[in-house]
Symmetry: C2
């Protein structure tokens, strides 16, 4: 794929690489990047199974890693790129980070934060959805198809991602 | 204070001890416990300043620690005791843990999850608010009074707790 460097599509493609890394670990494939002035300061993927921790979403880890990398708690100058629309937990975390912008790929029609009646994000946080939406959705569908085929679905798959 | 062992008040008093530990570290004083069959499987307090991480709320740490202690990701049989009403991030995390019950002390009139129009918690999660509400609120008020007096308020105090 030939995409302009430092565009939303370019960074989302990087986040997709993280999603693929999650897929290879048998994790629900969601990847995230935190970018500040076109520099990637954090990259992460879902690790809920590996860490035995339902809070270990890609975004949560990316926020923590970005704060560590930047040496400050707040991310006003940063953009979060994430392959799936954040859930309420991750959007609530984004509020505390005061992140400048959130860009996501696939929509989450069951657990996405935009389903919430209340505005969860910080009022200054801008949002863009649907960047590489098909690609981000396809890897999730492929994951769940594989899980169903192998009958390894033990009932703890994230409801919003089935 | 003479309170029945293993009552909500008793466990909340334990959570208050965690809040006091946070206070002593110059952290916004919020404490949390995860209890399973009357056994405390995790205890934690707010560490956002110490860890330079806005996601390091008491509840988030307690969930992760409880899952580690129990060896499973889900907390259906557990109760979270927390001195302040959870924010949307922590309530969103509680959803993923499928925790059986949440008991809080003081209400958070600015950032409490109950302000959200949508139901954030898992449908099976029961809730009780106001246990030792005055005591839980008093320690927060004392903290912010101290902060104001010492003029050390650098503007990053959680909005819901001012």
């Amino acid at each position: 794929m030939d995409i302009p460097v430092f565009s939303d599509t370019w960074f989302m493609n990087e986040a997709l690489k993280e999603a693929r890394a999650a897929f290879d670990k048998d994790e629900i494939p969601v990847g995230a990047l935190v970018v500040c002035n076109n520099i990637t300061v954090a990259r992460a993927h879902n690790l809920t199974e590996t860490l035995n921790d339902v809070t270990a979403h890609a975004e949560m880890q990316a926020f923590t890693a970005a704060a560590t990398a930047l040496g400050g708690k707040f991310l006003q100058e940063c953009t979060l790129y994430v392959t799936l629309e954040p859930c309420v937990m991750c959007a609530g975390a984004a509020y505390w980070t005061r992140i400048g912008r959130i860009v996501w790929g696939a929509s989450d029609e069951k657990r996405g934060f935009t389903l919430s009646g209340e505005r969860v994000l910080h009022p200054r946080t801008k949002t863009t959805g649907g960047i590489l939406g098909n690609e981000c959705s396809t890897i999730l569908k492929e994951f769940f198809r594989t899980k169903r085929k192998s009958s390894r679905n033990n009932g703890d798959i994230e409801p919003g991602l089935n």
